[in-house]
């Protein structure tokens, strides 16, 4: 249980070695599934012992039979609990990047290859339940591992557990998994948005989403990622495939977000501010460029914003 997490790192790694869940599916095998009684199970065992003592004291055969039946039931529960996890296929899906401060989500796909449903499959991390699900026969489900992020960078999913208490909740079976997945964490956007004045600008300010003063340039086939406010909805209404309207922006130069112009801030704050400006600019549909100490990105719309300094 949480006991393992208190052991030294080396010992932990040895205990839970092997089961790395990556892009390829892995199945939970015999050696990797452990079973222990729960607290309810310990209470049940105590009840059984008292029953057995009472039966022995009165020499009552049916009382023995009941105690033995319930003991057999506990053993059967254990087998079923084990079976619930055995053979479960796990695979991780690529996580979406998040901003610092939000929770990084690592989706795990659980695939049930057997003809029996797997009930009450729980995903735990650091002793607390993240998500739980039932999986129908030949079905799969996605459970998400969440991890808090504080700073930008890359966050690994780390170690988590798949637990099942079904049926009866008297024993619980678990398997440690090392999810081999990393999530990109963008810097937290700063609080202050785009100021009224910025470098290399035209007088086109605060373009709201629906209003553009650019010239209509033409249409092209819709590509994933094109802003939805540029989609030609009329064509869709007519039954044509989706198209994006193209505009030639009046402001040829666009905005420049300059690292070097941010004075009095440390690296992280500058990154935060730049991030915020980029988000705002993107939301407003402006053209902008980014100037960083080592790279420079030319103005464009929808420029890649992977900040990997």
């Amino acid at each position: 249980m949480r006991l393992v997490e208190r052991l030294p790192e080396g010992l932990q790694a040895w205990l839970v070695r092997g089961d790395t869940v990556g892009q390829q599916p892995i199945g939970l095998r015999y050696r990797r599934i452990f079973i222990l009684p729960t607290r309810a199970g310990l209470g049940y065992t105590g009840m059984l012992i008292v029953m057995w003592l009472a039966a022995m004291n009165y020499g009552n055969s049916m009382a023995f039979a009941l105690a033995f039946l319930l003991a057999g039931l506990a053993l059967v529960f254990t087998l079923h609990c084990f079976r619930n996890l055995l053979g479960l296929e796990l695979r991780c899906q690529p996580p979406e990047p998040v901003f610092a401060g939000a929770n990084a989500a690592f989706p795990l796909q659980l695939n049930n290859r057997s003809r029996r449903p797997r009930l009450g499959i729980e995903l735990h991390r650091e002793g607390s339940l993240q998500e739980a699900s039932d999986i129908a026969p030949y079905d799969s489900t996605v459970l998400t591992l969440q991890r808090k992020t504080t700073a930008r960078g890359v966050v690994a999913a780390g170690r988590s557990r798949i637990i099942s208490r079904f049926p009866g909740g008297l024993v619980f079976a678990w398997s440690w998994i090392d999810v081999d997945s990393e999530c990109l964490v963008y810097p937290r956007p700063a609080d202050t948005g785009l100021p009224l004045r910025f470098s290399g600008t035209s007088d086109s300010l605060h373009k709201t989403a629906g209003e553009d003063q650019d010239d209509f340039h033409g249409v092209r086939r819709y590509q994933a990622g094109d802003p939805l406010n540029r989609v030609n909805w009329h064509s869709i209404a007519r039954g044509l495939p989706p198209q994006t309207k193209l505009y030639q922006s009046a402001a040829q130069n666009g905005l420049w977000f300059d690292w070097h112009r941010l004075e009095g801030m440390d690296n992280e704050q500058r990154l935060s501010q730049l991030c915020r400006w980029i988000l705002d600019a993107e939301e407003q549909g402006l053209r902008y460029g980014l100037r960083l100490p080592h790279t420079e990105v030319a103005p464009g719309q929808g420029a890649p914003t992977a900040i990997n300094v």
Binding site: A40, A65, T305
Partner: protein, 683 residues
């Protein structure tokens, strides 16, 4: 694509993780602290009905107010749970507990004891229903319910009772499974089918444990006195009318299996408690008779071996055939040839022993004992005393006095009846000289009084006489209607001899049993009559079933276990322990094989396997399918990179997609897929 993330920024970021749910989280927590947990109604209803069903057999024994209190508390708990109102405060529950507990103690006189304990258990369960805040409380209720089922077995282990309680165990298990499911995936219905399957799988384990798990001879702690009430049977005292009262019941007292030939009917005297103390009305068992007697065996006739399964009768003696020459384990013979056990017989007890009718020890009688067996209240029964003095005055020896007493009964007009007139003043005198109508206890009592008054040591023996042979099962049934009382007389040079005055008056009682000895108008219970109706036959069949149940299952105690194990070759405890572990392990292995067989290699559908094979073949050629590629997408890429396989790849992809996703795939597609994949190089 990165910009896509930005655009989707408008969608809210994933909510913060669920609040940490420890194992004790509520099934579905409610907001206020003192509220009952929100149990789904089907589960709650099932729980209450099951508890009521478990309570029902107990309610027949418990005082009515306890049953009413339990039902009331249960309904109140149900209402609180459904309505979501606040649970009663701690002090109220505490007050209820103390109040009801006190009531139980007052009623039963003690806390300890089966009756009081059961009542307490019932009330605790009902009170816990008022306290259902978390899942842990619900578990406590379920465990208490299992306990209540157990306590019912201390009162009845019959087959119908066992089946009824098995159904209750099934229901409780179904509720347990439903309650214990993870909150996110909880169901509202008790899981009956699953519980039935699991219990069926647990049954073989139960059988193995039942047979092999060592049965240590109990009891571990002193059993309380109160346990059973309402069980009929012989008692430690005998008053006029007591035995005839007992014979109105045809409940089974015990069943006997004989090894070998059946004894003659006149040998079937079943020895129970011996009564020596007399106060003019009541005969009592003498506590000073507890001195044990070493077993002796000097009889001359053939020994009879038999096994008795004795129904519970709450006293601490065992019935034996007159006269026992062995004492079963956990019992010993005392000076009055009673088989006394350490603990009262609360449950069916099975034991084997041997007897010889002529096993009489001609030892001398020490003076203090002689005094006890001559004890009579001085101011009672003047006429009987006078009659006895006549015999003494005639200078008769003891044998002659005995003969005179025998003649007294055989020559006078005595009648054997279950309904003698009530005697007002002096039971013995009125019976001997006025009414001359009585049942076996009157005859035995009067006989012993006469002999004692004449200076011949004598005592009353109660027990059973006769029995009915059940052809169906090859055993003999002895019922309460066969209850009997007779006398034993001590003669010098000969020891204690049996003398049955009933045999002098109504010899048919010996030969035919109660039904044949009294008039038809007497209240002989149904099964004691000699008729041969089909109803009787059915009851005999059912009795045979019960006999097997009693003999093999209920009577499975340390002695029978030793016999069974010896037959299996497991003579010492080490071998038995090994056998137990091996048997349970084997069962678990078999069960595991059965359950886990299919997860050994989950059979993938053949279409997937074929497609995988296709992908592997192409991987060897350098075209590796990416995880995100669909079948058709992959096929298109193959067509681009390897044009000669274009047509085949497209065919395979189409077939595979159809087989996977169409609701009714056709077998010929599978066949074509097989062929197509087989022809893809490298073969």
């Amino acid at each position: 694509m990165a910009c896509a993330c930005l655009i989707r920024k408008s969608r809210p970021v994933k909510a913060p993780p669920l609040p940490s749910m420890s194992e004790n989280a509520c099934l579905m927590p409610r907001m206020t602290r003192n509220q009952a947990m929100a149990l789904p109604q089907p589960l709650l209803l099932a729980l209450l009905l099951t508890l009521a069903a478990i309570l029902l057999p107990h309610a027949l024994r418990l005082p009515a107010w306890i049953t009413a209190a339990a039902l009331g508390l249960g309904l109140w708990g149900y209402y609180l749970n459904r309505s979501g109102r606040r649970l009663p405060a701690g002090w109220l529950r505490g007050a209820l507990t103390v109040g009801i507990g006190t009531g139980i103690v007052i009623h039963h006189g003690t806390f300890i004891g089966l009756q009081a304990g059961t009542a307490l258990l019932v009330v605790m369960t009902a009170l816990k229903l008022l306290e259902l805040r978390r899942r842990r409380d619900l578990l406590v209720v379920l465990y208490l319910g299992y306990f209540l089922i157990l306590t019912q077995f201390f009162h009845s282990q019959s087959i119908p009772s066992a089946l009824y309680l098995l159904a209750a165990v099934w229901a409780m298990t179904a509720i347990l499974i439903a309650v214990q499911q993870a909150p996110a995936t909880a169901t509202a219905q008790p899981q009956f089918r699953l519980a039935a399957g699991l219990l069926a799988q647990a049954l073989p384990i139960m059988v193995v444990l039942f047979i092999l798990f060592p049965r240590l001879p109990g009891p571990l702690w002193a059993l309380p006195d109160d346990a059973h009430s309402g069980i009929t049977g012989l008692s430690e005292t005998m008053t006029p009318g007591a035995i005839s009262e007992l014979t109105r019941s045809d409940a089974v007292a015990f069943r006997v299996e004989f090894d070998g030939a059946l004894p003659r009917r006149d040998q079937l005297y079943w020895r129970g408690p011996v009564l020596t103390a007399y106060d003019g009305y009541t005969w009592r068992r003498d506590s000073a008779a507890e001195t044990p007697l070493p077993i002796y065996d000097i009889g001359t006739d053939t020994a009879i071996d038999y096994t008795i399964v004795l129904q519970p009768h709450t006293h601490n003696w065992l019935i034996s055939l007159d006269r026992p020459i062995t004492a079963p384990s956990r019992s010993r013979l005392n000076r009055e040839l009673e088989l006394v056990t350490a603990s009262p017989v609360y449950d069916s007890r099975r034991y084997s022993l041997s007897s010889r009718a002529s096993n009489t020890l001609p030892a001398a009688l020490p003076p203090d004992q002689r005094q006890r067996y001559l004890q009579l209240p001085p101011d009672r029964h003047p006429k009987a005393q006078a009659q006895a003095q006549e015999w003494v005055a005639a200078d008769k020896s003891e044998e002659e006095i005995l003969e005179a007493a025998v003649r007294f009964f055989s020559t006078r007009p005595f009648t054997y009846t279950m309904n003698p007139p009530r005697m007002q003043r002096d039971a013995v005198d009125e019976f001997l000289f006025e009414t001359q109508r009585g049942f076996c206890e009157h005859y035995a009592s009067a006989f012993v009084v006469l002999l004692r008054a004449a200076g011949v040591p004598a005592r009353v023996v109660t027990g059973y006489m006769g029995g009915e042979f059940n052809n169906v099962g090859d055993y003999m049934i002895v019922r309460q209607s066969d209850a009997h009382a007779w006398a034993e007389v001590w003669l010098p040079e000969r020891g204690w001899l049996r003398a049955d005055p009933t045999g002098l008056v109504a010899p048919q009682r010996i030969e035919l049993g109660l039904g044949g000895a009294v008039a038809d108008t007497e209240p002989v219970p149904r099964m004691a009559r000699g008729d041969n109706s089909w109803g009787r036959q059915l009851r005999l069949y059912w009795d045979a079933v019960n006999q097997r149940w009693d003999y093999w299952v209920l009577g499975y105690g340390p002695e029978l276990q030793q016999q069974v194990l010896a037959r299996l070759g497991l003579v010492d405890s080490k071998r038995m322990a090994t056998a137990l572990i091996v048997a349970v392990a084997t069962l678990l292995c078999l069960l595991s094989l059965f359950l886990l067989w299919e997860t050994r290699r989950a059979p993938p559908d053949e279409a997937s396997a074929l497609f995988q094979r296709f992908c592997r073949k192409l991987a060897r050629q350098g075209i590796v399918r990416q995880p995100h590629e669909t079948a058709t997408g992959f096929a298109r890429r193959v067509a681009d990179e390897c044009p000669e396989l274009a047509a085949k790849a497209e065919l395979i992809a189409t077939l595979y997609t159809r087989l996977r996703y169409e609701p009714t795939p056709r077998e010929q597609w599978l066949q074509r897929l097989r062929e197509a994949v087989a022809t893809v190089p490298p073969r």
